[in-house]
């Protein structure tokens, strides 16, 4: 398990591993927002939590098709299936590696991008908290989508179409935490809902992903 995590992290950090792509995408999208809606501070302040959450979600989506496709291409996915690791555990570990290399940098970068979008001061902490709680869910749901589309050539778009609807609850509660937080309201209810959602998908999705992967490779 540990070996798999270290291998995936090492691969992500080596040339061609795609580390930083999601982060750069997040940065670019957020930068484009003031250009498209204008520099008016009150408007930016109002839309900042939603825009940041949407940007993080899309940045996460961008790297999902690499989750299993590369392992399928070079044959290591089949070899992992014959290895003594339980497939559910292996997929959970791979999702964790994805979160560490994609989700976590987004979480850490978000408060800085919040400044660019005039996010109100108390909102930064709430934004950080909501992304930290919400992005693991994006990674494990994405793993399920990747397992579902793994055998399909150029399945990237299909993967996005399948995964985006599943991201909706996380997006709603995550953005709501950030919005309430930045408006100075009590954000604990959506935060608890978000945490609950994440815990549920982290517990269930590895099993679902392993089940569809076993079916798909047969």
């Amino acid at each position: 398990m540990k070996a798999l995590l270290l291998r995936d992290l090492r691969l992500a950090l080596r040339a061609g591993g795609g580390f930083g792509l999601g982060l750069a995408f997040f940065l670019t999208v957020t930068m484009l927002v003031p250009f498209s809606v204008g520099p008016e501070a009150t408007l930016l302040k109002a839309i900042a939590p939603g825009v940041l959450w949407l940007g993080a979600l899309l940045a996460c989506l961008l790297s999902l098709d690499r989750l299993l496709a590369l392992d399928l291409e070079d044959g290591s996915l089949e070899l992992l299936l014959t290895a003594p690791l339980p497939l559910e555990g292996a997929l959970a570990i791979k999702a964790l590696a994805h979160w560490l290399t994609t989700g976590l940098p987004l979480v850490l970068a978000a408060p800085f991008l919040g400044v660019m979008l005039q996010l109100a001061a108390p909102g930064h902490l709430w934004l950080l908290a909501s992304l930290a709680l919400g992005t693991p869910a994006l990674s494990v749901i994405g793993m399920f989508g990747a397992a579902l589309t793994v055998g399909i050539k150029r399945g990237g778009l299909l993967l996005s179409l399948l995964v985006l609807p599943l991201y909706i609850p996380t997006l709603i509660f995550g953005a709501e935490v950030a919005r309430r937080g930045s408006a100075g309201l009590d954000a604990s209810t959506p935060l608890l809902m978000l945490a609950g959602l994440t815990l549920a998908v982290v517990a269930l999705m590895p099993f679902a992903a392993a089940a569809v992967l076993r079916m798909g490779l047969r």
Binding site: D74, L79, L217
Partner: protein, 203 residues
């Protein structure tokens, strides 16, 4: 390991039926048959990568080390890193024997992506040595190997068999190892045989 009355399908079409054989410790069995006879499908089935239509496979679970056309190498990891990863997955730490067995030590710090096809294949086969599994299930193990590398593979195989392991291989060349031959073209399934190979599970 014992296989009895096995039927397997590829892409929903039954290719083999009624396959039965036993593989004892220390024994090698070579599958023969023309292209498309179902060698790969049978091997995948025994490795647990696909379910048989009918029949039983006994004593294979968690004892098989499988090697197919793809070697499962990460091109951005070095030879040593690739090998240690698989060693750790299978609960071993010692990769020295595998490096020496396939003369990989001079290449140990090269990225796997920069190796030639034959060198990659040697690395793929060296992975078998670090799994510690008793049954090797090999699909065309000698593809892209030169004569010297085939000899290395032959001696690794011999070492595995003398240590009480066994091997099931689809190969067309002589490895210099005593092996029983099983011609699987005699088990060809009737093309219209209905063994439940359709997508009934999804309907």
């Amino acid at each position: 390991m014992k296989v009895s009355d096995l039927s397997v399908a590829r892409g929903g079409v039954p290719v083999l039926s009624g396959v039965s054989f036993a593989l004892e410790a220390g024994e090698a069995l070579v599958l023969r048959g023309p292209n498309g006879a179902g060698k790969t499908t049978l091997l995948r089935c025994i490795a647990g990568l696909q379910a048989p239509l009918t029949g039983q496979i006994e004593g294979a679970e968690d004892r098989v080390a499988y090697a197919a056309h793809a070697d499962g190498l990460k091109s951005m990891l070095t030879v040593r890193e690739n090998l240690s990863f698989w060693a750790q997955v299978f609960g071993n730490v010692n990769i020295a024997q595998a490096l020496d067995g396939y003369a990989l030590r001079p290449l140990a710090d090269r990225l796997a992506g920069t190796l030639s096809a034959g060198q990659k294949r040697r690395l793929g086969l060296a992975r078998l040595l670090v799994t510690g599994r008793p049954i090797w299930v090999l699909d065309e193990p000698t593809v892209s190997l030169d004569a010297d590398a085939v000899a290395l593979f032959g001696s690794a195989l011999l070492g595995h068999l003398t240590a009480g392991g066994s091997a099931l291989m689809a190969t067309h060349i002589d490895l210099g190892v005593d092996a029983r031959v099983l011609d699987i073209s005699t088990y060809r399934a009737a093309p219209d045989a209905d063994l439940g190979a359709s997508d009934a599970a999804f309907l």
